[in-house]
């Protein structure tokens, strides 16, 4: 398992991983959803959680933000045991964009985003300039300022998703958890949202940010179904299956056909995206069936590992090398 040992020798405080799960076990009834999972996310890293439906991705995120209390093990945020933090303190450290939000009501977008400031305001204080600035910035960055005064209920699914992201940005927490952030977005907004999120981590491609909440350096953990998007935008990928982390590392090493088949139960072909150079995973339902249209390898991409690789555990990860 990837331990904290790979943290570089900065200061002792900067040494702490942004998020660390230590032998975390979560059970729902007699079903073990997370089984002694250990995971360490460095500060300033964009980690994708991938894995089949029911692998425990959402539960892992809900354990990290405190919605689920682990049956065993510890969750540490920046070195602090999460169970010692108040709900409010935790909300200042972790913001979450859930998979589904029940926004079937008439709050204007601006008010919903302003709710993200809850943890920064005392009960009797009015919103001050820093609150308003954080809301404005969050609206601008997510391209939602144009409909800031419209009721959330009148927006499309993709627009709502960005509004909820804006709310999480307004929360100004160093760790951001996203559960399927691109599920309801069209291809344009998929890449824009993930580009934006990547900008929060690395600053690249992001307009001049002002103030501490706008600078890069956040840590993001996102559950993503779309493996190609995960490979394009994330620094590392954690493959989760049956409550275990099966692999973790750069996309090129995790996207091993044998590993993916064991996790997803379907044969895959890993190729290289001609445009971006990132790995592309194509599922092939009938292993080795050449008639499957998806098995066609795009022009210019290299076939690295065969779809019939059921025992390909020691197969070469996607590399520039020729495997023919």
């Amino acid at each position: 398992m990837t331990g904290p040992g790979d943290a570089s020798a900065d200061g002792p405080a900067a040494d702490q991983p942004a998020l660390e799960l230590d032998d975390v076990t979560v059970r729902y009834g007699d079903r073990t959803v997370l089984d002694e999972v250990s995971l360490s996310v460095r500060r300033g890293e964009f980690l994708a959680l991938i894995g089949p439906n029911g692998a425990g991705k959402t539960t892992l995120l809900r354990t990290a933000n405190g919605l689920v209390t682990p049956d065993a093990g510890t969750v540490r945020l920046n070195g602090t045991d999460g169970s010692r933090l108040s709900v409010r303190e935790r909300a200042r450290r972790v913001a979450t964009v859930p998979q589904e939000t029940s926004v079937g009501f008439d709050f204007p977008v601006r008010d919903l985003v302003a709710m993200g400031r809850t943890a920064h305001r005392s009960r009797f204080s009015r919103a001050d300039e820093s609150d308003r600035a954080a809301v404005r910035r969050a609206l601008d960055r997510t391209d939602t300022a144009a409909f800031a005064d419209r009721p959330v209920g009148s927006l499309s699914g993709g627009e709502r998703q960005r509004v909820v992201l804006a709310r999480a940005l307004a929360q100004a927490a160093p760790l951001l958890l996203l559960d399927e952030p691109t599920a309801s977005l069209d291809i344009n907004h998929q890449v824009r949202v993930l580009g934006l999120v990547r900008g929060l981590v690395h600053g690249a491609g992001d307009e001049e940010g002002s103030g501490p909440t706008a600078t890069a350096g956040r840590t993001v953990v996102a559950a993503i179904h779309d493996l190609d998007l995960a490979a394009r935008f994330c620094d590392r990928v954690a493959l989760l299956a049956d409550g275990h982390i099966r692999a973790m590392g750069p996309p090129e090493t995790v996207f091993d056909p044998g590993q993916l088949e064991r996790a997803y139960g379907v044969g895959t072909i890993v190729t290289e995206n001609a445009a971006t150079g990132s790995p592309v995973v194509t599922a092939v339902p009938e292993t080795g069936d050449a008639a499957v249209p998806g098995a066609d390898i795009p022009e210019g991409a290299e076939r690295v590992a065969g779809a019939d690789a059921t025992d390909g555990s020691d197969r070469q990860p996607l590399a520039k090398s020729d495997d023919d």
């Binding site: 809900r62 935790r90 909300a91 200042r92 859930p98 009501f105 919903l112 709710m115 809850t118 009960r123």
Partner: protein
């Protein structure tokens, strides 16, 4: 700042409307009293006495000047009609606040103040007091017993619904329905033994304000105002809960603690109102809905406007209830007017969600 202005504007307008309704209501009755005389009588009682430093250094209440009002008119207004109006306003204020809190809490448009069994609990206490008090001297007075059993019912529902430190809203709702049904059976069974007091018990159950007194007014208003103030302090949390409990939690809201506070506040407000006025339906359901259509879902503006509108609505309906040749329990009037109005809203406007 825009929201603040809207809140103050709406509240001021509704407060003026409430005052007008109250004055108008005081003119109506077996003896017609001109509005000017009512206003003068009220001013004589409320506004003009001032604390003054008398000769010799003693403080005392003085009436530096007062309006001339016919003595009988002044007595009718201040001793008969005003207590009833003030009580109706307090009950409407409390029920509408509790209704707005419950609808936000349950994220359910059908939620009303009695949803967790508080009203039925009050009915058990009140009917027991009416039926058994003449026979058993130890039974406390009706209002006190009704208040106590109302809170006991609400607390029982809360305990039933609680599991592992959490109180799921759906469980609470169903537990409320079950407890209400059970207590309804208790009330019906008790009525079998009512004998001569049956009429009084049934009248109480219908909801009424005819037995108003300044004493009751003094007991209910503090409950209404304090309960309202606590609810208003939690308005932001209530907004966050509307987005969903999980989201509220990740935004930094202590969800379970907030729910306990809100449940307690709504229960106390309802218990206080029902204990003095019986089961008055529809105020707590319809008024918050209407205000939500007018001012939006934000509880920071919805709570004060609902409370004031609830007060005005109940004073107005109670005026209708006592204006006819024979007095009708106000609960009948609120339901008879409220239900068709609600259906109208349902068909013509968007009362489908919160």
């Amino acid at each position: 700042m825009y929201r603040r202005r809207r809140t103050v504007g709406w509240s001021a307008a509704l407060a003026v409307a409430l005052t007008l309704v109250a004055v108008l209501s005081a003119t109506i009755g077996p003896v017609a009293i001109p509005a000017v005389a009512v206003a003068k009588a009220i001013l004589n009682e409320v506004a003009l006495p001032t604390l003054a430093l008398g000769t010799g250094g003693t403080l005392s209440w003085v009436h530096p000047f007062s309006f001339a009002v016919e003595r009988s008119h002044a007595v009718i207004v201040t001793e008969l009609r005003l207590p009833r109006i003030a009580l109706g306003a307090a009950v409407g204020f409390a029920l509408a606040t509790a209704g707005a809190v419950m609808q936000g809490f349950f994220r359910n448009p059908m939620a009303d103040p009695s949803i967790i069994g508080v009203s039925t609990g009050a009915a058990v206490g009140a009917v027991a007091a009416i039926v058994f008090r003449p026979a058993i001297p130890l039974v406390p007075d009706l209002q006190g017993l009704a208040f106590a059993t109302a809170l006991a019912a609400g607390f029982a529902v809360y305990l039933v619904a609680r599991e592992g430190g959490r109180t799921p809203v759906a469980t609470l709702l169903l537990a409320g329905v079950a407890v209400q049904t059970f207590l309804g059976a208790v009330v019906s069974y008790t009525l079998l033994f009512a004998g001569d007091s049956l009429e009084r018990a049934v009248f109480w159950l219908m909801g009424h304000l005819h037995a108003a007194s300044w004493g009751k007014v003094g007991a209910v208003w503090p409950v209404a105002v304090i309960g309202f103030a606590v609810a208003l302090v939690y308005a932001r949390e209530l907004n966050a809960l509307l987005v969903g409990e999980d989201d509220a939690h990740t935004m930094g809201v202590e969800v379970e603690r907030t729910k306990r506070v809100l449940l307690a506040v709504a229960s106390i407000l309802t218990a206080g109102a029902v204990a003095v006025a019986g089961v008055i339906g529809f105020v707590g359901l319809v008024v918050p809905h209407v205000m939500r259509l007018l001012v939006g879902p934000d509880h920071r503006i919805l709570l004060p406007t609902s409370a004031l509108a609830g007060a005005g609505f109940l004073v107005a309906t109670d005026t209708l209830a006592r204006a006819g040749p024979a007095e009708v329990p106000v609960g009948i009037v609120t339901a008879a007017l409220g239900a068709p109005f609600f259906l109208y809203l349902l068909r013509n406007r968007e009362v489908h969600s919160l």
